[in-house]
């Protein structure tokens, strides 16, 4: 009996080691193969098959998130409940109207803000987030049938960069790596506000105004509509990345650069050695803070993104430029 148990334990150990090695072999093959390899193809096919299921779960969980928000609201409202209930009815009507107005404006901006030199995909909706605790990705409902290919810039509003497509592009869906993902990087240029604002706005807008609240958001929105003036004095160049602390920043900006709070951050058309991964002039955000330390070779620049990843609804992919 003892010999039988020893034999069983040994065979289990052999099986465990074999399966671990098989897993590592699969991992190695996956990392080494290109995007058209068999394992990538399997994942691509599975993503297409699971698309309706993901959409269904997204739909199924939306009432729960809405309900939790309502419960939170009810718990907070310990006083003046009657008045608030009455006010709520009016607010709901006003909110619905505001939502429709915002949606109308947003969709209109998307269409009005097109740059003639760019070719856009059809308007796409964000379908679902993608799993993985270390990633910031979403799936959108346009794919290769609409001209979308891997590594194309994805914009929201008037050419505000929010990410790029990954290699996972199916006929009707595409995965988008958001700018807030730690694996995202883009070559950017820091420009003074005057480089992105029209001559009429130039006199009325100062750097101080452009960093304050709604004014900054409006400036950023207006700025993204205009072709940037690269002839203006650049306030520095660097690499846009998100730190693991969650801060969007520009790395490798020279200490001598003139970057200051309120400057606009736009794509430079370069990302490291890769030329034209993004077209130049897509707005990313505004400079929130600039600091430097004697021991550092570069400036520390934190960027306030022009578009919040959490609020994404309608986006477009720039398929050619």
């Amino acid at each position: 009996l003892g010999r039988s148990r020893k034999s069983s334990a040994a065979s289990s150990l052999v099986a465990l080691i074999t399966l671990c090695v098989a897993s590592l072999v699969l991992f190695t093959i996956y990392v080494k193969e290109d995007d058209s390899g068999p394992l990538h193809t399997v994942q691509l096919g599975a993503a297409e098959v699971l698309r309706p299921v993901r959409g269904l779960f997204g739909l199924a969980t939306s009432p729960f998130s809405a309900a939790s928000e309502r419960v939170e609201g009810a718990l907070d409202a310990s006083e003046k409940k009657e008045l608030e209930a009455r006010a709520l009815e009016y607010e709901e009507g006003a909110a619905e109207a505001a939502r429709l107005r915002d949606e109308n404006e947003r969709l209109r901006e998307l269409l009005d803000g097109e740059r003639p030199s760019f070719t856009y995909s059809p308007l796409a909706r964000v379908v679902a987030p993608v799993g993985g605790q270390l990633t910031e990705r979403v799936v959108i409902n346009v794919g290769s049938d609409h001209g979308v290919r891997p590594e194309q810039p994805v914009v929201v509003g008037n050419n505000t960069l929010i990410g790029r497509t990954t290699e996972r592009v199916t006929p009707n869906t595409a995965e988008v790596l958001l700018v807030t993902d730690q694996n995202f990087a883009a070559g950017v240029r820091i420009l003074p506000p005057k480089a992105l604002q029209g001559e009429t706005d130039e006199e009325s807008t100062t750097a101080g105004e452009s960093t304050s609240g709604e004014s900054a958001a409006e400036d950023a929105s207006a700025a993204s509509e205009r072709e940037p003036d690269f002839g203006a004095d650049s306030h520095g160049e660097g690499l846009l990345r998100t730190s693991w602390e969650g801060y969007l920043g520009v790395d490798y900006v020279d200490l001598n650069a003139d970057a200051e709070q309120g400057d606009f951050v736009v794509t430079s058309g370069r990302a490291g050695g890769r030329e034209l991964l993004f077209p130049p002039g897509l707005l990313v955000g505004t400079v929130e803070s600039v600091s430097s330390q004697d021991i550092n070779q570069y400036k520390n620049i934190v960027v306030a993104p022009a578009a919040e990843a959490d609020d994404l609804q309608d986006v477009r992919v720039i398929v050619d430029w």
């Binding site: 069983s8 334990a9 065979s11 289990s12 099986a15 465990l16 399966l19 671990c20 098989a22 897993s23 590592l24 072999v25 699969l26 991992f27 190695t28 093959i29 996956y30 990392v31 394992l39 399997v42 994942q43 599975a46 993503a47 699971l50 299921v53 993901r54 779960f57 997204g58 969980t61 679902a128 987030p129 993608v130 799993g131 993985g132 605790q133 270390l134 990705r137 996972r168 995965e175 730690q182 694996n183 693991w244």
Partner: protein
């Protein structure tokens, strides 16, 4: 356990792991908070293989992980390795089940398996040449709360799932 019962048990375990893999890739992304998320695959594997033979358990963990890898967009092989190790941990810890009960057993096994799975998720991207988070921050802010949350989940539902998995033996007449 009679042969028919054993086969039924394997079928139920397989279905449970398949369902867990499906939930892992469809529902878990919607329930992710920072670095913390329910690990349905780990929970499914740990509970499903608790009464299986060693080889059956390891194979089920492996193929459950493969299914997760295929359905998700993650690095292939990480789920498979996580599934195998979760099965191995479940087999190793199941000796305490009779002493402490099904709930605490599932909680312990899932906690350890989630720690292993999270560490795989930490080092796999680095090995693949991608950027990884600071290890200390991730361990404190990601792995520990993730293990605790999933252990709680396993404690609450592990007992019930194990009862569902149990096949009553038919008496000889």
């Amino acid at each position: 356990m009679a042969l028919g019962g054993a086969q039924t048990h394997v079928v139920r375990a397989t279905l449970l792991v398949a369902l867990a893999a499906l939930l892992e890739v469809t529902l878990a992304p919607l329930l992710t908070f920072g670095w913390v998320a329910p690990r349905f695959l780990i929970l499914g594997v740990v509970v499903a293989v608790a009464d299986l033979r060693d080889l059956q358990a390891l194979l089920l963990g492996f193929f459950g992980g493969i299914l997760t890898d295929a359905l998700s967009g993650g690095l292939f092989g990480v789920g498979a390795l996580g599934g195998v190790l979760a099965a191995a941990i479940s087999l190793r810890i199941r000796v305490v089940r009779r002493k402490v009960g099904a709930g605490p057993f599932a909680a312990q096994a899932v906690a350890v398996a989630v720690v292993v799975y999270d560490l795989l998720g930490l080092f796999a991207p680095i090995l693949a040449g991608q950027v990884g988070p600071p290890v200390a921050t991730y361990l404190a802010g990601g792995v520990v709360p993730d293990a605790l949350l999933n252990a709680l989940l396993a404690y609450l539902v592990g007992d019930r799932i194990l009862k569902l998995m149990t096949v009553k033996e038919e008496k000889w007449t």
